[in-house]
Amino acid sequence: MKKSIGGLVVAGAMVAVLASGCSSKPSADELKQLDDLKAEVSSLEREISAKESEKAALMKAIADKNAQLSQCEKDKALVQERLKGM
């Protein structure tokens, strides 16, 4: 009885080893292709983050300049008015 149990275990192990060896796996080139793709995605995410920061900075700079321009136009009108009175 014990002998038959041992034999079954050994047979099962052999089947498992054979089964794992037979399943299809990606090649080394294919794995590298996937790694390169992941690296490209990370790089693109970093670039987008930098561009979004640049965009925010530009929008702030434009808003500041709009305010300065509006003040400058008011100043110009004021100077013209004062010069008339001189």
Partner: protein
């Protein structure tokens, strides 16, 4: 029997290792699934980056346009007042000079200010000249000049206060015990008897001898201040005459 047990153990171990290895390794299907997923993600990101780049380029152009418009506006203002950078620097330096003079005069007592009345007039002339300059219309100078005029007006008010001297009508000795010493000692006058020569020297036309003042005389009382050089000299001369008279007697 022992051999069989060992073989069983080894087989179980091999089975465990093989099963672990099979679990960690990627299958072809899994690889394909990840490739599809990451390729789609990459394409989305590329599109997003292209759109962002276009937006950033547009904003850069808008920023440059705004900067140019701002420069033109500032140049227009400077052209209106005919200011060159050198002329503007000289104008600002003149304002600094006026500020310094006003600060100096503002620290003086009314009495000292009165003695330097001419300098208040000079600083007013300087400010008048500055106000004639078109650059005085520039916002960055306009309020500063107005403030300087306010401060000069305050100086002029101090001068008026110094100019309007108090008067005191001399009472009788019997009732009021009025003499220059006692008048100077009064709290509402100087609260300091030693300043009596100031009253004497400012009323020389009606006080020839400081020991003699008459009831009803209206005396000018100049603002309280330390004795001037002239007042001290008159004081010394008074005591010398008193001593000489005492020696003669």
């Amino acid at each position: 029997m022992k051999i069989l047990n060992r073989l069983t153990l080894v087989a179980a171990l091999v089975l465990f290792i093989c099963a672990s290895a099979a679990a960690q390794e990627m299958t072809k299907e899994e690889w394909q699934k990840q490739m599809t997923e990451f390729t789609a993600k990459r394409n989305d990101l590329r599109n997003k980056l292209t759109a962002l780049q276009a937006e950033v380029d547009r904003l850069k152009k808008e920023d440059a346009d705004k900067a140019a418009a701002l420069k033109k506006c500032n140049d227009d203002i400077m052209a209106l007042v005919g200011a060159t950078p050198e002329a503007e620097r000289a104008f600002a330096a003149k304002l600094d000079q006026i500020d310094a003079k006003i600060n100096e005069l503002s620290r003086l007592s009314n009495q000292d200010l009165w003695a330097r009345k001419g300098e208040v007039d000079d600083v007013q002339k300087m400010l008048d000249e500055v106000e004639q300059n078109k650059m005085s219309a520039l916002p960055k100078y306009y309020n500063r000049i107005k403030e300087q005029q306010n401060r000069i007006d305050a100086l002029k008010k101090s001068l008026e206060a110094a100019q309007i001297a108090m008067t005191y009508t001399v009472g009788t000795w019997a009732k009021d015990r009025d003499c220059l010493w006692n008048i100077a000692k009064k709290p509402k006058i100087y609260d300091n008897a030693f300043l009596w020569p100031k009253i004497w020297q400012n009323n020389r036309e009606q006080i020839k001898n400081p020991d003699i003042i008459k009831p009803g005389q209206k005396l000018k009382i100049p603002p309280k201040a330390d004795l001037t050089k002239e007042e001290k000299a008159a004081h010394r001369s008074y005591w010398q005459r008193k001593q000489a008279a005492a020696v003669q007697q």
